[in-house]
Symmetry: C2
Subunit: 260 residues, 2 copies
């Protein structure tokens, strides 16, 4: 397993490389095709982590875990059910989630596994999907819960989940990593709220990539948020959400009451 991170150096430059907890071994060139080491090493106090990729879109799944489907009384879908979170929603580890101006309602966390696409992917068969998966990251699919069903005629999936800072990604992308034995754990202000096995997924990563690649072209850096399971809830202003997946690490973000 390798863990890749994007970072900003103390000098203000953006780079990427292999993350080794206390340091980053810098690489250069196309992140997804042809990365090569520069030989430079950044010590733990010489960088700040950024979102590990900059997706053109996040394809965010609804109803993709059996436990939550059963709890909500929903039938398992026969095709991935999704909305699109725009690239402008993305933030990285330790960046603040911002409460939208004029919205005083509940803001929910949803801890999820994220698939990072590595190559242009279109109409790929299920058994051919693996090479298009670069790796995996943690996602907090933040939602303005009271916007979602504000209009009885039109569920506002894109609006409630598309605000700037509502697509938290990180801390790294794990490659050559087995998702099927891992659990997603979400802690709110240090208290465990979600702890579910990724193996409970209704449609697993390779099937998701194949099926979604028949719905639209997936681009390098695009993220598929695999959907959440039981235990979602709302974040108080100032609250801290940690999404942890063994092997990937902990994605931590605080809900800031202040707008930009």
């Amino acid at each position: 397993m390798t863990r890749w991170a994007r970072f900003r150096s103390n000098g203000g430059q953006t780079g990427y490389g292999i993350f080794e907890d206390t340091r980053i071994l810098e690489y250069e060139g196309d992140f997804f095709a042809g990365a090569r080491p520069t030989g430079r090493i950044f010590a733990h106090d010489e960088f700040t982590l950024q979102s590990p990729c900059t997706p053109s879109k996040i394809v965010a799944l609804w109803n993709n875990f059996n436990a939550l489907a059963i709890k909500l009384g929903k039938a398992a879908p026969t095709h991935p059910q999704f909305l699109i979170k725009p690239g402008t929603s993305v933030i990285g580890p330790n960046e603040p989630i911002r409460r939208p101006i004029g919205y005083a309602g509940k803001i929910a966390y949803e801890g999820e596994l994220g698939i990072v696409i590595g190559r242009l992917c279109k109409n790929v068969p299920p058994n051919g999907a693996a090479p298009f998966i670069f790796g995996y990251t943690c996602v907090n699919d933040v939602t303005a819960a009271e916007v979602l069903n504000e209009n009885v005629d039109f569920p506002q999936w894109c609006r409630s989940k598309g605000y700037d800072t509502f697509g938290c990604l990180g801390p790294v992308i794990a490659t050559d990593w087995d998702w099927s034995r891992a659990r997603a754990v979400t802690r709110l202000d240090g208290v465990e709220r979600q702890n579910y096995p990724l193996s409970d997924m209704i449609m697993p990563p390779e099937e998701l990539v194949s099926r979604l690649s028949h719905d639209m072209s997936l681009l390098p850096g695009d993220v598929i948020a695999c959907g959440t399971s039981v235990g979602i809830g709302s974040i108080k202003d100032g609250g801290t959400v940690e999404v942890h997946i063994d092997g990937i690490g902990s994605l931590v973000n605080v809900l800031s009451p202040s707008a930009r």
Copy 2:
């Protein structure tokens, strides 16, 4: 009024400039900030029009015309109701709409006005929105109609409208142009199917830009598809759809039965 086009020259280069029906006066530099003439002119047989911008996202409105809201018995919304079509859905004039592989159902046209954003736009007040509008284009918001309501638990707005080639834009971007006196006309195989006044919009462009800029950052080149009105219908394989708005021109696309 000025009409801006993106084009590919016969030599294979992509450029942009002022479109004068029989020729293009080429410009260079940042399209949205600092365009300057190159002095080169491309005659009508020396270029092929491309989509006039390359949006990171299309924010596509639902229920934004009074006539259609009345026909469907829907209350006028108090905030723009939207879905997101990804940038990968975009095609330009005369490019084929492609039927998705494995989908044999109805494919619908929706003729619409498109707003092209010119500057990073976030939390902008309604009376300050005008400077963020670069200009206007025609949109055919293509929809795989039978995908939309295939799942009773989850209306698939993003999926049914997000397929590659389902976001037709063009032929040009009209700047310094008054949308309020224009009509959107859609012709299917030469027969008029839609002909509605843009002034029937529930939320007009400046209000849309302001309100949507509170939902997410809008980037230069992003397109807001203002929603459609009465007269939508389905396209047969091989059928031709023309969306015409006086001042902008005609956006023509054929539905190809063949998949890529």
